[in-house]
């Protein structure tokens, strides 16, 4: 029974998420088009939704070029090294009340542990290509991913602190109690949860190389970064890995902060959990597409200083706020919940304003003095 459950779960994950990747590429292109007052793809299939099939066939039939001076084995293996940990990371995310492939006690730890392996794959791709653009892209990717891993993990640590468990199932169950008679206690409704969610969102965008943090494959600067020497289906596999990484990051954000498979209101609990999870996932993807259509790419120094000088202090302060939230639950405050909320929101807000002021000081409008 358990074996059948596991195999069917693996098959489901390996079918659903690549299909979602295909649909997301079309939705992203259409959405980006609309954000820029264009039409987007609308030729293949109804409203252009079969575009990803055409793209897949195109990728499959393209010539697979490997540079002669490349490290053949590493160059070949890199896309698979990227895909395996990404698929593994889906195994611990709960999609429904009982719908999780592996309910680890240390699910969150497992997620971050396998997630860190993607950096290896990116560097393998960049190093083995024997191309300066590839190597530049790979080095940028390493710098970025390692920098943003820190705020990512620390912002999700708050949840672990409050829940007292690394199991993602437990974390979702902790958000199930109902407050005010209709609202589930999602972590994003608390001050530390809101701040943590924001930090997590930005760090997740950087982890999955999404614009505005796409400097590892900045097309206008270093061709395609570590993907420069990849063609045909290996290129498509890299894209698959990148998008699946984004989906798993979104899935984790939903699990940690947005109540996982829980309905937003308790009177909607009759709708099955996986549907809520899918809706939340699509909403998160829409936010990332919106961000991609809006924000320009950061420079490397801006990117790193954002991670170390702004997001890391914010994440650490947020950790203290989470502790304050934990202890203030037992205090006898005059107006109860509202005062507790404001008490914890104040340090987050004040530190945000102070840090932002300090951080943006050097980004004041530049004055130019031209030669006469």
């Amino acid at each position: 029974m358990s074996f059948v459950y596991t195999v069917s779960g693996i098959v489901a994950i390996m079918m659903v998420f690549p299909l979602l990747f295909g649909i997301t590429t079309v939705l992203e292109r259409k959405g980006l088009g609309r954000l820029q007052n264009r039409l987007g793809p609308n030729r293949v299939g109804p409203f252009g939704f079969a575009q990803f099939v055409a793209d897949g066939i195109k990728m499959l039939t393209k010539e697979d070029i490997v540079p002669r001076t490349a490290d053949q084995v590493v160059h070949f293996v890199a896309p698979f090294v990227l895909l395996v940990p990404v698929f593994l990371s889906f195994s611990v995310i709960p999609f429904g009340r009982k719908l999780v492939l592996a309910d680890f006690d240390a699910g969150l730890l497992f997620f971050f542990a396998v997630g860190a392996a993607t950096e290896l794959a990116v560097f393998m791709a960049g190093w083995s290509s024997r191309n300066k653009y590839s190597l530049l892209g790979a080095m940028r990717a390493i710098a970025q991913m390692i920098s943003y891993e820190v705020p990512l993990v620390i912002s999700s640590l708050t949840v672990v602190m409050l829940v007292g468990s690394l199991s993602l199932m437990d974390i979702v169950r902790e958000q199930q109690p109902v407050r005010f008679g209709f609202l589930h206690t999602w972590h994003v409704f608390t001050p530390w949860g809101l701040a943590g969610f924001m930090l997590f969102l930005v760090a997740a965008a950087a982890e999955s190389n999404r614009t505005p943090f796409d400097i590892p494959e900045a097309e206008s600067e270093i061709i395609a970064g570590y993907l420069t020497e990849y063609s045909g289906f290996k290129y498509a596999l890299f894209f698959l890995g990148e998008y699946l990484g984004l989906f798993s990051m979104c899935g984790l954000a939903i699990t940690l902060f947005l109540g996982g498979w829980l309905a937003p209101f308790s009177f909607l609990d009759f709708v099955p959990g996986p549907i809520w999870f899918a809706l939340k996932l699509l909403a998160m993807i829409a936010v990332f597409i919106w961000a991609r259509g809006t924000l320009p790419r950061l420079r490397t120094d801006q990117l790193l200083s954002l991670a170390w000088k702004f997001m890391l202090p914010m994440a650490l302060i947020n950790l203290l706020v989470a502790a304050l939230w934990h202890y203030s639950g037992a205090w006898d405050l005059p107006a109860g919940y509202a005062v507790r909320w404001l008490l914890c929101a104040a340090p987050v807000l004040i530190s945000f304003l102070l840090l932002a002021r300090h951080f943006s000081r050097k980004f004041t409008p530049r004055t130019y003095r031209y030669a006469d």
């Binding site: 609309r34 264009r38 039409l39 961000a291 809006t294 924000l295 932002a356």
Partner: protein, 190 residues
């Protein structure tokens, strides 16, 4: 304040997104093969031969004088004069070929033609599977009616028609007394 510009940008793109569904004027894309913008009146591409009346062969204004052939800078026009069985010239081209792969759309042939027989077309969808014979247009492909010319360049065609009619009247009438107003010179062609 950090984040203010970011929020502004997000609002702007959201407005674009919603606006592209609600406001027609935002979506400027013309889906070319199905939709197309109207041609500008002064658009020009490659030359064609004008004929009057119904019959493309008989109505050709061209008299095979070969001025355009001589003046064509890239030498893309080839004309052979039609002769009857006795070898007398017939004021009609037997062969009139234009190699549009060589033509540079300079319009000099149109400027030099004294018979208003060659004009500029606006047809631009000329892709061919054979770039040699496919792009060598012969007399039958080049012949287009005067109505077609009127449709492409209405102002210019009207001026040309008036000019031709004036010349015809002048030729038909006996030498006019000097008091009559001289025929208007042809308006400058563009």
């Amino acid at each position: 304040m950090i984040g203010k510009g970011i929020a502004k940008g997000f609002i702007e793109t959201a407005r674009n997104f919603v606006g592209s569904y609600t406001e027609e004027s935002r979506l400027v894309t013309v889906e070319y093969p199905e939709e197309r913008l109207p041609q500008k009146e002064n658009a020009r591409n490659f030359p064609f031969l004008v004929y009057d009346g119904e019959d493309a062969e008989k109505g050709l204004r061209c008299v095979a004088c070969k001025i355009c052939e001589k003046d064509c800078p890239p030498q893309c026009i080839y004309i052979v004069l039609e002769r009857d069985e006795k070898g007398r010239p017939q004021k009609h081209p037997k062969v009139f070929d234009i190699d549009v792969s060589v033509c540079m759309s300079c319009q000099i042939c149109v400027e030099v033609c004294p018979f208003e027989a060659i004009k500029m077309d606006t047809e631009f969808e000329l892709s061919q599977t054979d770039r040699f014979d496919g792009l060598l247009l012969d007399k039958h492909q080049l012949a287009k009616s005067n109505e077609y010319y009127h449709k492409l360049h209405p102002t210019e065609a009207a001026a040309v028609d008036a000019n031709l009619a004036a010349e015809k009247a002048k030729k038909a009438a006996p030498p006019a007394p000097s008091t009559a107003a001289p025929p208007q010179p042809a308006p400058a062609k563009t």
